[in-house]
Amino acid sequence: MTSETLRVLNTMLGDPTDEWYGLELSKQARLQPGTIYPMLDRLLRAGWLERHWEEIDPSLEGRPRRRLYRLTGHGARCARLAIDEQMASLQPERAPRWTPTPRGSAA
């Protein structure tokens, strides 16, 4: 899993019930604008995300409707697991404990 995907999942896990539109999500995850869609597509096909169109009247709101994304229950669990795994892999390995050699014991 790429670091960009992990950033997106981490952003969404901030509030797993929250709904995001693509541009807002890419801004929060500090991605380049317009680069998030293949990632969303992959996550959708894996069943980690679900999406639906915003229910507004564009003429009343004065803007086009947006497509909103949300983590599924399965997606939230898998995302937590993936982030935990990533965090664990970033932990530095514990260095072997150094013990002083008693004086005069060498050779």
């Binding site: 995907t5 604008p33 680069t35 990632m39 096909r45 980690w48 803007r63 409707r65 947006r66």
Partner: protein, 204 residues
């Protein structure tokens, strides 16, 4: 020129420069906005109809949100070109993987169409557009190479299971000429190997 006249001249000149600058900036912003919108539309047109239906409205809505920020919008349009290529490639890859992996591929890639449908579509294409068919074969070979590079363990595992099955079949044929036994025993071995060595799908 008298001092009040000079002040008036500087004042009028300043206003003229400010107005001209605003006009030039507005013109430049308008040009950038039109270029960005045209670029996004070209990108959308370059995709398959299926992808257009899936993404066009969302991209237009996202562009509308940032069109007052010309440089962000330009970056958005430039990145969308790469995104469109990536989405197209991934759909092709998913089709090939689906055909190759069957039910497991359908589960992993979430597509409803089965290998039979893909084969039927390819056959129909071959009959109607031979050049497209050849292009698709090249694309499929590239996609399989990409798949092997992306999932070397899975490909290695599939090759090992197939080799085991073939070896088992050859071994069984030494001891029996019964075709059913020669098929059933390696089949059971392949099934066992597949069950024992199965790795869970870990997501994208």
């Amino acid at each position: 020129m008298s001092a009040p006249g000079l002040v008036l001249l500087v004042f009028v000149g300043g206003i003229a420069v400010a107005v001209a600058r605003a006009l030039v900036v507005d013109e430049a912003k308008g040009q950038l906005r039109r270029r960005t919108a045209a670029s996004v539309e070209r990108t959308i047109d370059s995709m398959s109809l299926e992808l257009q239906e899936e993404w066009a409205e969302e991209w237009r809505a996202d562009l509308a949100k940032i069109e007052s920020m010309p440089f962000t919008a330009l970056r958005f349009a430039a990145n969308l070109r790469r995104t469109a290529r990536e989405l197209t490639r991934e759909r092709e890859l998913a089709t090939v993987a689906e055909t190759a992996l069957g039910a497991r591929g359908r589960r992993a890639f979430g597509e409803s169409s089965g290998p039979r449908r893909a084969i039927a579509r390819l056959t129909a294409e071959a009959a109607s557009h031979p050049a497209t068919f050849v292009a698709r074969i090249i694309l499929a070979v590239r996609a399989m190479r990409r798949l092997a590079l992306q999932y070397p363990r899975t490909v290695l595992y599939a090759a090992a299971v197939l080799s085991l099955g073939t070896a088992a079949q050859a071994l069984v044929k030494i001891f029996t000429s019964d075709t059913r036994v020669a098929i059933v025993i390696p089949g059971v071995l392949i099934l066992l190997a597949a069950l024992v060595g199965r790795r869970g799908y870990r997501g994208p």
